[in-house]
Amino acid sequence: MLIKPPADIDPSEITPRNVYEARRTFLRQAAALGLAGTMLPHATAQTASAAPVTEQGKLAALPGKSSTLSTTDKLTPHKDVVTYNNYYEFGTDKHQPAQYAHRLRTRPWSVMIEGEVKNKGPMNIEDLLKLAPMEERIYRMRCVEGWSMVIPWVGYSLAELMKRVEPTSKAKYVAFTTAMQPDTMIGLRIPALEWPYVEGLRMDEAMHPLTLLTFGLYGEVLPNQNGAPVRLVVPWKYGFKSIKSIDKIVLMETQPKTSWNVAAAHEYGFYSNVNPTVSHPRWSQATERRIGEDGFLAPKRKTLPFNGYAEQVAGLYKGMDLKKFY
C-alpha cells in the first residue's frame, strides 16, 4: 500500500499551467473589451480536461463579438455539437471523439508557418489567440454524409493571420495539417486515412472573410473533440474541409494533396463545395438532416448551393465547371 504524506495543498487546487494561461489570455481579452468586471466569475472555468467534456460550462469562456455574417437558423443543441463528431484520429465512430479526445494535449501548442511566406516559423497558440478580436459566427455546417448543424463558433477570419504572415506572390494555395499525437490519438493505429490529416484551400478561399480560424464554440474554448485548440471552419464546403487541431500551415504554389481526396478522389474533390446538384457517387447530396430537428417528425430539408452562402462565395468560382471541380 502506498501511503502519501499529507499535502499542504490539495493537488486539485493547483491550477495547471494551461488553465491559468488560458485564464490570463481570457482576462486580457475581457479587459480589452471592457468586460472583465462583469464576466469575472467565468474566469474560474477550467480548460484542462482529465475527463471527457460533453457539457457546457466546463471549459474556459471565450466570448466573441456578434457578427453580421451569422445565420439566424436555430442553433443545434450544445450536447449534439460536442458528442457527434467526425474526428478519425480518435476513432471512426461519431461518438468516439467525445470519449477519447480529452487525452489530446492542447498546451503547449504552436502552429508552424512554412512555405511561400515572409514570416516563417512557429506561432504560439497564446499569440494566435491575441492576434485579432474574437467574433462569434453562427454558421451552418454541412457534412458530406448528409447531415447538418448550426454552430456558434468563436474566432476570427483566417485572412487576419494570412496578412500577418505575409504570403509571397508565389503563394497560390494554403495547406493545413492536423497534429499527430500517437499516444493520445487511438485512431492513428487504423489506416482509415493517410496520416497526418491534410486539408487545403485556394488562396482566395483562404482570404475570404467567411473562412474562420476558430478557437471556440458556444462561448467557450473548443472542446478537444471539436478540434481544440485551433481549427478551420469553411461554412460553404463539406465539413471535412474544416480541419481540426491545426499544427502546421504551409503556403504553396501548387494544389496540396488533401486526405480525403487521396483516399477516394472520385468521391471527394479538392473543392468539395456544398452542391445539391452534384451527388456523392454513393449517395445523393440533394437533402440533409438537420441534427436535432429533422427525422422523426419532419422530412429532411433541401440542401442549398454553397450551403446557403452562394451570395458571398459563388463569385470565387465564376467560369468554373462545378461538376468537374467538385
Partner: protein, 200 residues
C-alpha cells in the same frame, strides 16, 4: 455431447431464444423513447437494425454446422426463429429507410435504388429475404415440398453476401466492421462447401 432437450427444456430454451432476439429491438425502442439514441437517432436506428439483421443472418447460417459438430439435430428447429428474426430486423431497417430517410418519397427512393449501388444492394438483399420469410412456416414448407423448399432456402447464403457488400459500399474509409462480417460469412461458406465435398 449428443444431448437432446426434453419437451419442457425445449419450450424454455425456445422462449429464451425468442426473448434474446427481441432484446436489441426492445433496447432500441427504450432508447428512442428516452431520446437517448444520440445526436442522430435515425442514423443510430438504421445502423443498429441493419447490423442486427446481418448478425442474425450469420447466426442462422451457423445452425447447420453447429448441429453437425455438436450432434444436436434438434437445433434445426431453432433455425426458423433465428431466420425470421433476421428478417424482422431487415424489415425494421427497410422501414427506417422508407419512413425517416425518405419520408415516403417514392420517386426519390426509386431513384436511390436505381442509382446508388449500396442502396441497390441493400434493397436486393431485402428482396432475396422476402420469399424466405414468406415460406418459413409449416404450411408453405409442406406446400413446396422438402426439395423445392431447400433449394429456395439456399438463398439464405446469398442474402448476407449481398448485405455485406451493401455495408462495405456504405462506409467511407474504415472497412473493418464489414470485413469482419465478410470473414465470418466466408468461413461459413467454406465449411458448407467442405462438408458437401466430404460427403461425396
Amino acid at each position: 455431447m449428443a444431448w437432446h432437450p426434453t419437451p419442457t427444456q425445449w419450450f424454455v430454451l425456445h422462449r429464451l431464444v425468442l426473448l434474446l432476439v427481441c432484446l436489441p429491438m426492445m433496447r432500441l425502442v427504450l432508447l428512442a423513447y428516452r431520446d437517448a439514441l444520440g445526436a442522430n437517432p435515425i442514423e443510430a436506428l438504421t445502423r443498429a437494425t441493419g447490423w442486427w439483421s446481418l448478425v442474425f443472418l450469420l447466426i442462422t447460417l451457423l445452425v447447420t454446422p453447429l448441429r453437425r459438430v455438436l450432434q444436436w439435430p434438434w437445433l434445426l428447429r431453432m433455425r426458423r426463429t433465428l431466420g425470421l428474426s433476421a428478417f424482422f430486423y431487415a424489415l425494421a431497417h427497410f422501414i427506417t429507410f422508407i419512413w425517416f430517410d425518405h419520408w415516403f418519397d417514392w420517386v426519390a427512393m426509386f431513384s436511390d435504388v436505381i442509382k446508388r449501388p449500396f442502396i441497390t444492394m441493400g434493397f436486393s438483399a431485402f428482396v432475396v429475404l422476402l420469399p424466405l420469410a414468406l415460406t418459413s412456416n409449416n404450411y408453405m414448407t409442406r406446400k413446396l415440398g422438402a426439395q423445392r423448399w431447400q433449394r429456395l432456402h439456399r438463398l439464405a447464403y446469398l442474402a448476407p453476401a449481398i448485405a455485406v457488400i451493401h455495408y462495405w459500399w456504405l462506409v467511407k474509409a474504415d472497412v473493418r466492421e464489414p470485413l469482419y462480417f465478410a470473414i465470418v460469412l466466408a468461413l461459413l461458406l467454406v465449411w458448407r462447401v467442405w462438408s458437401v465435398v466430404q460427403k461425396r
